[in-house]
């Protein structure tokens, strides 16, 4: 699946997107954040406060308990400041 990062999440991780294959035990957005945090310091820094991280699956907002199976694109970003 494709992961996309925006704003300071992207800056901390150091890239705007990547393709990943999470292992079977990673079932939800919350699981994915934990799994990503373990991939390296830059990820841990980006996700150090999970409460301010928001996510979208296939371009729609989801909560942290959302299941990721079947997702084509998952995005992580801080709370939005549009308008």
């Amino acid at each position: 699946m494709k992961l996309r990062y925006f704003a300071w999440v992207r800056e901390r991780i150091g890239k705007p997107e990547e393709e990943i294959e999470p292992p079977a035990g990673v079932a939800t957005i919350a699981d994915l954040v934990i799994w990503l945090s373990q991939r390296g310091e830059e990820y841990a820094h980006a996700f150090e406060n999970p409460r301010v991280i928001r996510a979208a699956i296939d371009r729609a907002h989801v909560r942290s308990d959302a299941a990721i199976s079947g997702a084509r694109e998952i995005a992580f970003f801080p709370p939005m400041t549009g308008g």
């Binding site: 925006f6 801080p78 709370p79 308008g83």
Partner: protein, 164 residues
């Protein structure tokens, strides 16, 4: 119902967009045109510029979802939302919301609803450059809790009736 949702770098012409919605119609009695503008300060500090990052594929879909929600709640006869991205300077327009209805209460309410949601759920992120010193850093603007509270007014589970 005619609905326009556009993301663009370039400035927009609010009067022209409003005119497009009402052209040739005799059923529209109210048009509300809201323009969001880049101010020259952020929390009291003078601003040099603001840069809007966005998630292109999601932004149009998300705004369209809220336009559809507004249509379900109010008898609208036209809606236009234009949101700019990129680097903007103080005084420049950021966002346009135009709503058209037979009567003013629907047009006003729908415009406010759309703006409250644009502030909290449209995938844009602002960075600001502050004046001062020899070097300017770009700082990410934090989302305001007051914007979340405004958006929450519109959800039925909040226990309060949304404005009609």
């Amino acid at each position: 119902m005619a609905a326009t949702v556009r993301l663009q770098r370039e400035p927009f012409d609010a009067a022209s967009e409003a005119e497009k919605l009402r052209r040739g119609r005799s059923d529209i009695g109210a048009v509300v045109t809201f323009t969001g503008i880049c101010r020259g300060d952020e929390a009291g500090a003078p601003l040099l510029a603001m840069t809007l990052e966005h998630y292109p594929d999601m932004a149009e879909a998300e705004i369209a979802r809220h336009v559809a929600a507004a249509e379900r709640r109010w008898p609208l006869l036209g809606v236009a939302v234009i949101h700019r991205y990129g680097r903007l300077q103080p005084g420049e327009d950021i966002v346009l919301v135009v709503t058209a209805a037979a009567h003013r209460r629907d047009a006003f309410a729908a415009a406010e609803f759309l703006m409250d949601y644009l502030k909290t759920r449209a995938p844009f992120w602002k960075q600001i450059e502050l004046a001062g010193g020899g070097r300017t850093d770009k700082i990410w603007v934090e989302a305001k809790r007051s914007d979340d509270a405004l958006a929450d007014r519109w959800t039925p589970s909040s226990g309060r009736r949304a404005a009609e």
